[in-house]
């Protein structure tokens, strides 16, 4: 992509859990909107589609009023028809366009499984590289407020299983911008999954466009005792846990993977080499999910560094309940990370 610079950084500039007031800060939806506003102006191949992208909420603000600047041809509302619309986006993509297709929730992607799994993710391979599908699909995990079983799912474990898909899960506004730029510039289908609870989080976002590479995780907090690999919102929970654990004399290292596919195996193994302990905290079900895959990779490539069994903090194997009391029981958080890390340390002593 001619219009981006390419950054490879081991630290997010300006990332601080205790924000200073000097740098410009945006939340995730503001960051996404700014990115789209800028790239739409730079590349005519890019267009934005999805149900409600031009309404007054603008997809949680991510697409707000973009149609007023770029017109209804390039920023358009769609019928629900998730499966056909995914195919339509793919068809435009193979003919040279760069669609960004928004969904309110990952739950709705299940209606488009045929076009995502059977088509978009396979079309480069099965045609011997003759086609490319530069398609970005955005969906926002809708945890909480009684959203229930069909409006709160994450489902990235399901998609991680599929060859040919990129799987991006940013946890900061800075990463949201850089990874969205990278996703739109990529020549392959990308699933860009966000989390509603991250939309309140603010972080430094440079005004100019920049691209963050796939498969490069970040150490959000350095520590020596336990490695905590966080996915999406669980990165924030892990950073919260770190504060309390510090008081207890346990120093955790928090890794933000940023993309699940490709997966930054190196950053995890190097950290485990140092700490000898691994906790994986995910916003998805545990069985055959991302946390299980990461555990398997570390068992395979880093077993000799482990001083204790790998621990997974994931959702229980039930649909997501609606009542807030049951939601509290369902979702793991900082406390689970604290207890698990403390148990690991006890086991060590």
């Amino acid at each position: 992509m001619p219009w981006t610079k390419f950054l490879i950084e081991t630290k997010e500039p300006g990332f601080d859990e205790h924000p200073d007031k000097i740098k410009r800060k945006l939340n995730v939806s503001e960051s996404i909107r700014e990115t789209l506003y800028q790239v739409l102006g730079k590349d005519e191949r890019i267009f934005v589609m999805g149900q409600g992208v031009d309404d007054y909420t603008g997809m949680f603000g991510m697409t707000l009023n973009l149609h007023k600047k770029y017109g209804k041809k390039r920023v358009f509302d769609t019928p629900l028809s998730e499966n056909a619309l995914t195919g339509i986006a793919s068809g435009a993509a193979i003919c040279g366009m760069r669609p960004v297709y928004f969904h309110n929730r990952p739950d709705f992607l299940l209606l488009a499984m045929d076009q995502i799994v059977n088509h978009a993710s396979k079309y480069s391979y099965i045609f011997g590289g003759e086609l490319q599908v530069p398609l970005v699909i955005v969906a926002v995990i809708g945890r909480g407020w009684g959203s229930g079983a069909q409006h709160s799912q994450a489902l990235h474990g399901l998609f991680m299983h599929i060859p040919g898909l990129r799987l991006v899960m940013p946890s900061t506004a800075y990463d949201a911008k850089g990874l969205l730029v990278r996703s739109i510039a990529d020549n392959n289908p990308v699933l860009f999954i966000e989390h509603r609870w991250l939309f309140k989080h603010q972080s430094y976002v440079p005004r100019e466009l920049y691209s963050i590479p796939f498969g490069k995780g970040l150490i959000r907090r350095e520590g020596k005792d336990v490695t905590v690999v966080g996915i999406s919102y669980m990165v924030i929970e892990a950073l919260r846990a770190a504060e309390k654990l510090k008081e207890q004399g346990c120093d955790i290292e928090v890794i933000d993977l940023r993309t699940l596919k490709p997966l930054d195996v190196e950053i995890i193994i190097n950290s485990v080499k140092k700490t000898g302990h691994l906790i994986i905290a995910d916003t998805d079900w545990g069985i055959a999910g991302a946390a299980s895959e990461i555990a398997a990779v570390v068992a395979d490539q880093g077993f000799r560094y482990l001083k204790a069994p790998i621990k997974r903090i994931t959702w229980p194997d039930i649909p997501i309940p609606s009542s807030y009391v049951l939601e509290e029981a369902f979702y793991p958080g900082a406390d689970d990370i604290i207890n698990t890390a403390a148990d690991l340390m006890k086991g060590q002593s």
Binding site: P79, I88, L131
Partner: protein, 325 residues
């Protein structure tokens, strides 16, 4: 009557194309028992008039999307027959480099944008190609071929709705051969008139005889022109007959699921033979010319099979190649 409104040159071109598709199918069928083509094949014998008739109205860079019964579409759009046959022989020189097989043919240089083996899978993708033409204002038309069973899938309706909403330049070509594997249309569809599905979206939709290449040619010309002029999508239901089994050579179990009288009736209407008869009768085709055309095609096919058989297989080291671009 219909034939008189088509030039002799075009009629001969259509005949040549259909003959090439037929001969290719027959040659595949004859070679298939040797088990050297290690991929399922879905022969389109009996349906040649549809791909030939429609594609004769397309420009080289117009888009074509196809399904599992894909050989005719590929040839009619101008795909290289050598690369097709090499794909059937699972070779690196195949149109999909041996990664796709018979159900995933492609020739983007002539606007063939791939075939999907998921029934109806190409319909929305073709619709998206038409959307790209509107956004880019490139004047191209998209055509997608699919079978009767594809109209039972949700994306068929979802795509027609969107194409109508956005007035997309696309022609939906349903090849109704009445069978999905061995299941007759009557066991699957409440209303056998597929062209009526277009009424729900108030788009032009026609039911035509898909074994009459002149009818297919003229109606699809009208449809493609209509789409190119920005009037939105058109649905064509072309009724024809699958002379062979769903997959593989011959149709050894046809007695078990077909009405033999129905089968005989359609064989009598063989699209290639009836065109040939008409052309001979009107002196557009002579016996000498016929023999010359036939020999040219035979030579091309012999060369294609030789090329395919002699080509190298994919290298196992390249197993992961082409996953990403």
């Amino acid at each position: 009557m219909r034939m008189k409104s088509i030039s002799s040159t075009t009629l001969l071109k259509l005949y040549q194309e259909m003959l090439k598709i037929r001969k290719l199918q027959l040659k595949i069928e004859a070679e298939y028992h040797k088990d050297e083509m290690k991929t399922p094949v879905h022969l389109c014998i009996g349906q040649e008039a549809i791909s030939s008739g429609v594609c004769a109205n397309l420009k080289k860079d117009d888009y074509l999307f196809s399904n599992h019964r894909s050989h005719g579409h590929y040839i009619a759009k101008g795909g290289d027959v050598k690369k097709l046959v090499a794909e059937l022989y699972c070779k690196e020189t195949g149109c999909s480099k041996g990664r796709g097989g018979s159900m995933h043919l492609i020739a983007t240089k002539v606007g063939h944008m791939g075939s999907s083996a998921i029934v109806a899978g190409s319909i929305p993708i073709a619709t998206g190609a038409a959307l790209s033409s509107v956004l880019k204002k490139d004047g191209k038309v998209s055509v997608v071929f699919f079978g009767d069973a594809a109209t039972e899938e949700g994306v068929f309706f979802e795509s027609m709705n969107f194409a109508t909403l956005k007035k997309l330049p696309i022609v939906y070509v349903c090849e109704n051969n009445f069978y999905s594997v061995c299941s007759h249309q009557s066991a699957r569809e409440a209303n056998p008139d597929i062209s009526m599905r277009g009424k729900a979206f108030d788009i032009p939709a026609y039911q035509i005889d898909g074994s009459d290449v002149c009818e297919v040619y003229l109606k699809s010309r009208e449809a493609i022109n209509c789409a190119r002029r920005g009037r939105g999508p058109v649905l064509l239901e072309c009724r024809a007959y699958r002379f062979r089994a769903h997959a593989g050579a011959g149709d050894p179990h046809k007695d078990t699921y077909r009405n033999i009288n129905e089968w005989k009736e359609w064989i009598r209407k063989d699209p290639l033979k009836s065109l040939e008869r008409k052309l001979l009768k009107n002196n557009i085709l002579t016996k000498e010319k016929k023999s010359k055309i036939s020999k040219t095609i035979d030579k091309e096919l012999t060369e294609a099979f030789k090329f395919a058989k002699e080509s190298i297989l994919p290298n196992k080291k390249d197993l992961k190649k082409y996953l990403f671009r």
